[in-house]
């Protein structure tokens, strides 16, 4: 048992061959014991215990690369996610990790900064790591990713934003927006005694969610008999600066600012609020706001903000139901979001 540990080069990790030698047995017996199917392979309890004990003593750690290379399925499950800067994606990722681990899957997550090129690059990287399944969250071009994965025989599920070539789990954006708009409209009417249209700010005009939310927004106005001017729908992107810009330009064009707004994410709300605070507009009376997304501190900003909270636990349950069922049909699951009570 000579110890030739060279401190300059990394100490060789213990492998099943080392353990086999120590136990005076074969590598395949060690493998069978350590990966749990030693009963099937008719290894005696005595040997199994001996090997287990040795493995512990030696601090043996399975080499996943070797294991995955040999195995049919990798049990690695990937997720790509746009950003980590808000509670929505944060809880998606937390839930994803927890549920994956529960099932004995190894989650790997990558954030793409909403950059389509990075999305594709990330998807490719995941394929290289032999993921069994990829969840594309809020992807700009989900179908592109699905195609890449399909070519490698990897299942994909779209989350948050739907695609046409893989099952999709999303919020009921239309329903949520309809209800949110109704509430903000009625808050405005209650305060000002007259009906007036809201401003829609944030999101991308081309993405499904934003389009559905705009539809809910318009329908709620229609219900109330209010017409919505085109200029009042500003799908300028998600970044705070873009929302801020919209407000600045609107204020430059007209002194008659809307009394209420539908803001398409907390991140856009950040920009809107910043502008409201710095511009001096709305100094006497805050506008009524509705935010499609939830944040605990936004909830404390005052009773002029309504929020719709996407139901992340239910969404991930739906995602894993699809994974567990192994079904391949193009499900399209819409989860009703939660209308948060003010205060």
């Amino acid at each position: 048992m000579e110890m030739t540990v060279n401190r300059t080069s990394p100490p060789k990790r213990t492998t099943i061959y080392d353990l086999a030698e120590l136990a005076g047995t074969s590598a395949s017996a060690v493998s069978a014991v350590l990966n749990g199917n030693w009963k099937k392979r008719r290894i005696s309890v005595k040997l199994a215990e001996k090997i287990t004990k040795l493995a512990e003593e030696q601090g043996y750690a399975l080499n996943m690369q070797a294991s995955v290379l040999r195995r049919e399925r990798s049990k690695i499950i990937g997720m790509i996610v746009p950003k980590y800067d808000n509670r929505y994606f944060g809880s998606i990722v937390e839930q994803f990790e927890a549920r994956a681990r529960e099932r004995g899957l190894f989650p790997i997550i990558t954030c793409t900064m909403r950059d389509p090129a990075l999305e594709v690059e990330a998807a490719r990287a995941m394929l290289s790591y032999q993921v069994d399944c990829l969840i594309a969250t809020g992807a700009t071009d989900p179908d592109r990713i699905v195609d890449l994965c399909a070519a490698a025989g990897v299942r994909t599920i779209n989350l948050d934003l739907p695609g046409s070539r893989a099952p999709s789990v999303i919020s009921d954006n239309y329903g949520g927006a309809l209800e949110l708009t109704r509430r903000v409209l009625s808050n405005c009417e209650r305060e000002y005694g007259e009906k007036a249209p809201l401003l829609f700010v944030g999101g991308r005009g081309t993405d499904h969610n934003t389009m559905e939310r705009v539809r809910g927004f318009r329908d709620a106005h229609a219900e109330a008999g209010i017409t919505v001017d085109e200029a009042l729908v500003q799908t300028c992107g998600y970044a705070p600066e873009k929302a801020e810009n919209v407000m600045r330009q609107l204020a430059a064009r007209t002194s008659d600012l809307p009394r209420g707004m539908f803001v398409n994410s907390t991140i856009s709300l950040e920009g809107v609020m910043r502008w409201i605070r710095h511009s001096g507009h709305y100094a006497e009376r805050m506008p009524h706001l509705g935010c499609f997304d939830w944040d605990p501190f936004v909830a404390m900003l005052g009773d002029h903000i309504e929020m719709v909270r996407q139901d992340v636990p239910k969404m991930l349950e739906a995602v894993f139901d699809i994974i567990d069922s192994g079904s391949t049909d193009l499900a399209f699951v819409e989860i009703p979001p939660i209308i948060e009570k003010i205060g």
Copy 2:
């Protein structure tokens, strides 16, 4: 070119052997071309181009498992992180991913929900995936993780919370807390015209950061000639409910609530704010708050809250400086946090 794609079993992925056959060359030539050291291996430009083109056409994706298994270094870099529910950890993770990718490293991240058992399990999993290096962020027991990794010859760097057996990059908690406390104390004195101690809420009394912040808190009081009662230091943990509880119990004991508080994280602040809003205490005058951590919406909550923002870009720069330098000495880097201006 027969297409025998069996839809029930996954279509076999293209390997370098497939490409070699198509190109009429050997697998090792393909490998050399695709991993970029074909010049060293004296492959002709002509063949290189042919192979590259073929790889693209066939949608070839490297099998990382095989590649890593063979190679000396995996170029995988791991990070464990407590939670994704706040801006601080969110930006740590975003920065980590970006900088890792910049260097051609593949980042894998896992969140441990502040659970010590999960931390160890996660570290083990990372070792199995042959990470070259592990960043332990906010770990409860960093030294435990360092030991695990050291046994496998894997470098570790502690981030956010320091350990004694690996380089650590953390905020200057003492300095930040000192300045934050000074500000809140002076805000209180300005408003109330008299010196009075603040309440310290949140964090774990046993962790280095909390201890350092308490030290700064005490020293700022001492500077101002204010004595701090033991009961005013409530390191109750990070969860919102725990902070809320502290407030509730404090209010039950005394009607003379402190006029200002030092709150040890945004997540604890969530609990404190919730209590303030629901309990009816502080209804006339909000207490002056100082929060060790930053959130854009907290910044909008009013001018009674001071914030200290940990300098995540600098922290990650320091982390990657250590990684790039390859140095193994026990650096202890303290990065000054940023004092946010109110409003």
